[in-house]
Amino acid sequence: MHKFEKIWLSAGTASLAIFLIIIGISAVHGGHTPAASGIETINPEHVRDDARFKEPGLKESADDDYDYDLYFVASAFMYEPGEVEIPSGSTVKIHVTSPDVVHGFQVVGTNINMIAEPGLISTYEMTFDEPGEHLIVCNEYCGVGHTDMTSMINVVAGGADNE
């Protein structure tokens, strides 16, 4: 192999390895594993009977690791809740499921971007530091009303009650 090709391939694969190491450390140590990973099941026909999804929305968390659980039901063609307020600085664990078809759940301007599947619950944890508005859009085709399927997260100043 020509020496320049050897150098190029070494530099190239070394860069790729560096990327992988950064992603790996960020995932394992930083807790940034890909969204919705894991297998948590729920019967899609009984989503509304489940205590968590009966009245979806922001609930104080029983877990010490984070402040709130935020439960969303994604269905054709809306999200419940249609709007939610979150105190800035709070750490929220989001849980999304669907009673019908596959939907997307993307909170614009954040890294919250995952698929909601009937039969499974998709979760993601995030700390909402900055006040502001975040549109939620469906980005997985779900039928004729897909484009207008939206919700909104309002991060409001006033601090989180972290006790």
């Binding site: 020509h2 150098i7 190029w8 530099a11 860069s15 954040t110």
Partner: protein, 71 residues
């Protein structure tokens, strides 16, 4: 269509076309017998691929920084 009908195409002889011109070039050049890769001057190639590699690193980190900012 008339506009480009008669525009000359580089080095093509009368009645010849693309590929016949190339065949003629091939016969006229005897430089490439048993080329050893190591003798080849590939400075330009090296510069191009390393530049692409540089762009790869830059663009990846740009999006990584965006990801971290949105965390």
């Amino acid at each position: 269509m008339k506009v480009f009908y008669n525009l000359p195409i580089e080095n093509v002889k009368e009645g010849e076309n693309m590929t016949e011109k190339k065949d003629r070039n091939e016969e006229e050049k005897q430089h490439h017998d048993a080329d050893d890769h190591h003798k080849l001057d590939l400075r330009g190639t090296f510069m191009m691929v390393m530049t692409i590699g540089g762009l790869m690193v830059l663009s990846w980190f740009a999006v990584f920084i965006l990801f971290m900012e949105r965390m």
